[in-house]
Amino acid sequence: MMRIRDLSNQELADRLAQGLDLQTGPFIFHIQSREAPVFSGLRRLYADFPVSKEALRDFHVRVRRPANLRRWYHPQVVFEHDRASPFKPLPANHAFASLEWGMNWCIAGYAHQYLTLHAAVLERNGRAVMLPGEPGAGKSTLTAALSLSGWRLLTDETALVDLDTGVLWPMARPINLKNHSIDIIQAFSSEAIFGDKAFDTHKGTVAHLKPSLDTVLRMDESCRIGWVIFPRWQANSPARLTRRPRADTFVFAAENSFNYSVLGETGFRTLDRLIREADCYDFRYSKLEDAVLAFERLST
């Protein structure tokens, strides 16, 4: 199997000009771009990912310069899915972030063969923990720290729940970190590899963390859920898990699903099965090291 790291710089650039078929979990993205940040983001963060040989791709995406005068003055890029642009153009140096967000948009908008939830998922000893995304709760920071501490990353952004079996499927894509979190994770682990920072996006400064080799090599291994944990960073709080009612967890997850209402009764049944299988907790912490220890105790 060919991986992106097997391509020379020239080969990668050529493929990107024609369309590079990137496999990420169950999805194949046909990615076309001549933008330098897209090239370097894929080179650095997706090095271990397979280049697909299949003729049938799931999403045809492109990051390109819009045809206007901004080509020379503060150049911009626009994300396209199948020749339509769902977003406004962004500054050209946000090209890689724009690709990442666009890929998330494709999955949220079209991948209704799964129940999709706004949550991070990691696995250890064969069981998955799901961290739903309360904005500002520090979900991505904790996800990054766990992924650098022996947990296998399934996803940082979108949980894929199988409608027939209830298992969770990985995507293994890079973790999107914002602002202060980038420094925290750099200080947390010397193994953290980041792509280039994009400054002044609508989310502030963002950078993506490279997923581990193990994460990428096992991106076709699904996993059953063990826990749903709602993390919240709180100054000076000891790391502490408290039970959270399942009904309440269900409602939160349904409201934070991208396609719960699209799936109708199937969505209800799938989420019901998932939450019944899981132990649900609230989790407060102030130090990442303590949080990682608490998760380790839970998984053994």
């Binding site: 003729a55 049938l56 799931d58 045809h60 199948d82 079209y110 209704h112």
Partner: protein, 357 residues
């Protein structure tokens, strides 16, 4: 006609051929049919002809996803019609569902796997005031507050400005006729209201009669110029014709009805286009009649570009010019020149002022 467009048409009229497509062909067909809002329809067709298990896994996944979207839209239409009926049902006037909402509420075949825009209604023109008042009381509010827009709709159009529900965000288009007051063709709304078909389970709720369903769909498609959904609308027409025209005498009655309403032209275009592109079987139709022949040569080529306009891959060379011609044609049919030119000028100025669109 290019190969990609031909493949989409073949999938629509011979769904069993989908089982022998290559993955490379599917890579294109999935995208093209999704752009034309027809992927969910193909999914149901391939299941009906027992071809599902022969499809590649990835195709089944995308089709399953598209089917969920179509099912959700049908649930949403049923709910919106229910809420609309709560607001208007007691007015003691006929409330007529048009197009998609009519197919869904009367379980007609075009509802299968169909994707929707807004919900369209037809009500008697002299009761529009009551209808607007009741809708406002139940949470539907107008979105076009500009004095020019108000005048445009109320003086010239066949509908009032669209109303959107304040919490659910759904939009209703309330019509009092099926073509603008200024249009060249002038069907009488009273003729349509005299041949209604009741919707079971609801008081005062109707759809158009069988022939009028087809005539309205054809008129909308060929005389209103919304080419973005043209192929889906043509599939609606094909499905309605296959459903009703198998009954002996139906086509003859359809032609007679078109004559009564003055809608022979759109009917002729509809019959020719469905036969040419979707091979709609129309046993009683005499295609050798001279009026049918001439239109074929002059009109159908831009129409084909219109039907292929859902995705850039589907349209061949000359497409931009053909679509421009269709745009001009639709305005020409909607309004006489002395109204049309000032209107287009106003629109252009308004656009440049707000910088929108």
């Amino acid at each position: 006609m290019n190969a990609a467009f031909q493949r989409l048409l073949t999938a629509l009229h011979q769904p069993e051929t989908m089982t022998s497509l290559t993955e490379r062909e599917w890579d294109a067909l999935l995208r093209h049919s999704r752009s034309a809002s027809l992927l969910s329809r193909l999914a149901l067709d391939v299941q009906t002809c027992q071809g599902w298990d022969a499809l590649p896994l990835r195709v089944r996944q995308h089709m399953r996803a598209a089917t969920f979207v179509a099912e959700r839209q049908i649930r949403a239409v049923r709910w919106e019609v229910h809420k609309m009926h709560e607001a208007l049902g007691h007015l003691d006037i006929p409330i007529v569902l048009l197009k998609g909402a009519a197919y869904v509420m009367d379980d007609l075949p075009p509802a299968r796997g169909r994707l929707f825009g807004d919900i369209d209604l037809l009500v008697p023109r002299d009761r529009l005031g009551d209808v607007e008042m009741q809708l406002r009381l139940h949470g539907w509010h107008g979105t076009h507050h500009d004095a020019y827009d108000q005048r445009y709709y109320r003086q010239w159009m066949h509908e009032i400005p669209p109303v959107t529900h304040i919490t659910r965000g759904s939009t209703l288009d309330v019509h009092h006729n099926i073509l603008p007051l200024t249009a060249r063709l002038k069907p009488q709304a009273s003729d349509l209201l005299a041949a209604l078909h009741p919707i079971a389970g609801y008081s005062n709720l109707y759809r158009l009669g069988n022939a009028d369903l087809i005539l309205h769909s054809a008129t909308h498609l060929f005389h209103e110029g919304e080419w973005a959904h043209a192929l889906r609308d043509l599939v609606d027409l094909d499905t309605l014709l296959r459903h009703f025209a198998s009954k002996p005498g139906f086509l003859k009655a359809l032609h007679a009805r078109a004559e009564t309403l003055g809608l022979q032209k759109p009917l002729q275009y509809a019959l020719q286009s469905t036969q040419a592109l979707l091979l709609t079987p129309l046993p009683e139709l005499d295609l050798t009649a001279p009026s049918n022949k001439s239109a074929n040569v002059l009109i159908n080529r831009p129409f084909v570009h219109g039907f292929a306009s859902a995705h850039r891959d589907l349209s061949g060379p000359g497409s931009d010019l053909a679509l421009f011609a269709l745009y001009i044609r639709s305005h020409w049919l909607r309004m006489p020149m002395h109204l049309l030119l000032p209107h287009l000028l106003h629109k252009a100025l308004a656009r440049s002022k707000t910088g929108k669109e």
